[in-house]
Point group: C2
Chain length 481, copies 2
């Protein structure tokens, strides 16, 4: 809350996007580094943002029939080892507890990197019959994945997330669940976070360790890079066989259930910042903004005029049904306050001074595009919800335009290389989904990855951009965080 | 959801209270043991209960001006060691991370047993001036305290809690905060959990490691034992000096702020079970009950009559504004359903059959005392909120009666010993608050402890029950979980 700090210039995005990102996160007081390697502190403004995202998603998770639970933080090493791909995928990232109290443990305990193994161990005791299925559960928790290079929100050793886990009698039902929950993530991203996303299926090299397949949503950041914002996995019977989970079906035959999991983490806050922010700081979509409207009183003139302005602000606050705050700090100029709340991405700013009271009309400024309009003061409280919805739409449309402008269709590796010559983009290309062609794509330009195979488009037999074989898949190729 | 299991007899409380407790927790599917030593799994019904408790308390925490944050799970060993009493108190209970990825760490990391040390480290950078005070923050998190003997909810290595942490310019302001937050805990216990509590100050031997003093709320369980249900600590400047946190006051003089912390955990669910439960299982107060009303359709007669009953149940659900569920399982008899929901402590049960439809009157049964009443079906939806409030009051009054019946005043050690000869009680006694007298009290009967020095009563100079010196304190003496 240091006024001087807020008006200090932020490194422009165009100059150094990474530096801009870290400065915005820290100066807007969303989060900060800690003395604990790889672990961040989420500060009140950042945590309020997470609470709003969490509450929106939690409602969707419950609406779709899931119940929350809580599983142990620590997982014995022997439990992790029962699904071979899984342990191979996660072993290099695990933090190990070796001592409890003052004694060395007989078996090392992993801090959960994800909870499939402990959940399967428990449900092997709880699932007996087709009547026990489906199991539809979710947990909000911290997880730990040891990381060498960390970045606030985007890549930290500890992060917060939800992990949904389900067991089903049939493959089809599990496949439907995987789609349903990816749909919830899409709804969260597009309708709440104002981030248009591309849904699709990961290639085998990018799927979750132990899954048959993984679906993802991918968003474009304002530098043209991609961010994977949520994933949903079909496990087939891989874990239920490894952990010996069985049920008697309606014909009294023992079967292994089909399993899914799906997760979304505090990483999405990083995506939100990079998708929408600008050189003045954050731009937060109103539906998840901790503060939706900031009111800056302009206190000039005699004490009577000042009292009238303060009274008008308080009346607006009383009448308002949105998350509105009055900035009545006395030791700051209005311009400093503007910079303070622009940095923090508050969607709407209202200034109220003695002249506005005299005219009965006040000015509202929209954070996303600086659009200003005037409204009669006595209509303001009732108009604010609609103005916030307009701001939400404006942020979404701006992100949508970026995605359109920086997406291209390519038909060959040389076109792909050329497309990335200028700047990072999303390249859509027919792709056969074979590992050797994926390798060729990755090497066509610096740091390319296949984000996913789009679920909304088909190649209709067009030739793979690498090998030329006819394919149905359209891959989204991009650089990724 | 096994019907046979629900009608199986639970060990009566009078026969073996500890066994009764564990059976109720497991068979009501609140929580269970896991293969991970000391760590429990909180199952959907138990977690829904925790969500309701958490949401009620979170609203109080925010109402009193606090903001939520999130701090790292891991704390470097050197950080823990800076406040001598604190590290001495917690060292025997710490789980240590020694390896990250595949490498041994240079310094061991503790899984947080509580977060004072990491919070002080961070705030030493963030607090500069009197303008930065007060700092009023809270975190909902998991913590780990290695325990040899564990019991579901009551004593587990990992548990969920909230920990509030505040920094203030003056001692008085910190003292006021400590009282305010204990008041929130009392409000939660009494108004939401229907548990009457005794507020007071812990003796020095029972205070938090590093605190100047600790306040607590203590509840009576139905076996006459005590449960500490929430604590609030005044830290003086102990940590702010050890961690070199300073601010410039209004006269530009460097000062160490005064600090508090306060916590309430999933342990309170154990208290709720033991305070209210009976031989049929849980009794959950309506305000926090995941299911407030269970409707059991009595499906007899022809298909038309059955359809009418089902339609009436559905209409009630549509019109109801409370948390109401219809149990329409087909493979269970009504009596089995009654036992199922009694075990789970649902406050009100409504049965609806063809005869009830014909008469237009249905029967409602209250879980806490089996009280039944009839109401016109068409008034039911509007009457349910009032019936639930009555059930809430009935549960509170029952607990209040127990506390009164099993509290005695004693004036000497021999009276104290005699008072505990029959059964566990709460003994109130004038007490001088010296360690040697506390030792004498503890030895007066098996497992006695001083719960707290009551804040609502004064001894007015009566003689200490041990040494006879005049004192102002009334101690509550009890056996405790």
């Amino acid at each position: 809350m240091n006024a001087a700090a807020d008006t200090k210039r932020i490194t422009p995005k165009s100059e150094d996007f990474d530096k801009w990102y870290v400065e915005v996160v820290r100066r807007a007081e969303l989060a900060d580094y800690t003395p604990v390697r790889g672990c961040m502190v989420i500060r009140p403004y950042g945590f309020a943002l997470w609470e709003n995202i969490r509450d929106a998603l939690d409602a969707m998770i419950k609406r779709t029939g899931h119940e929350n639970m809580y599983f142990p933080l620590l997982i014995p090493e022997s439990y992790l080892q029962r699904e071979a791909d899984h342990v191979e995928g996660f072993a290099p990232q695990i933090a190990w507890v070796t001592h409890g109290g003052e004694k060395q443990l007989e078996e090392r305990l992993a801090i959960r990197p994800t909870s499939e193994t402990i959940i399967c161990s428990l449900y092997s005791k709880w699932i007996h019959s087709w009547r026990d299925l489906p199991v539809l559960i979710n947990q909000w928790a911290n997880v730990m994945r040891w990381e060498l290079r960390t970045r606030l929100f985007l890549r930290t050793a500890e992060f917060l997330w939800q992990e949904g886990h389900t067991f089903h009698a049939t493959d089809e039902e599990a496949a439907h669940e995987v789609e349903t929950m990816l749909g919830c993530y899409r709804e969260l991203a597009e309708e709440w976070l104002a981030m248009p996303v591309i849904s699709g299926r990961k290639t085998d090299s990018e799927k979750f360790a132990g899954a048959r397949y993984t679906l993802s949503i991918e968003a474009m950041m304002s530098d043209g890079w991609a961010l994977q914002a949520g994933t949903s996995h079909h496990f087939d019977q891989n874990f239920t066989k490894a952990y010996d989970i069985t049920f008697s079906d309606r014909n009294n035959v023992r079967q292994n259930p089909f399993q899914t999991s799906w997760g979304l983490s505090t990483r999405i806050i990083g995506g939100l910042i990079m998708a929408h922010g600008d050189d003045a700081g954050l731009i937060i979509p109103p539906r998840i903004a901790p503060i939706q409207v900031i009111v800056v009183p302009i206190l000039q003139g005699d004490s009577e005029q000042r009292a009238a302005v303060e009274a008008a602000c308080q009346q607006l606050q009383r009448e308002s049904t949105v998350r509105l705050r009055i900035d009545n700090r006395e030791d700051m100029r209005p311009g400093e306050k503007f910079a303070h709340w622009e940095l923090r991405g508050v969607p709407l700013r209202i200034t109220i001074g003695a002249r506005d009271l005299a005219s009965g009309v006040v000015t509202i400024t929209r954070r996303v595009d600086g659009h200003t309009q005037t409204l009669p003061l006595n209509q303001l409280a009732t108009q604010l919800p609609a103005l916030l919805e307009e701001a939400q739409t404006a942020i979404y449309q701006r992100a949508q335009r970026l995605l359109q402008e920086r997406s291209v269709n390519v038909a060959s590796l040389s076109e792909l290389t050329a497309a990335f010559a200028d700047r990072p983009i999303f390249a859509n290309a027919p792709f056969c989904n074979r590992p050797e062609c994926e390798e060729a794509v990755k090497n066509a330009a610096h740091a390319l990855t296949i984000r996913n195979l789009r679920s909304d488009q088909s190649a209709n037999g067009a030739p793979c951009l690498v090998c030329g074989k006819p394919t149905e898949h359209i891959a989204v190729i991009a650089r990724a965080y």
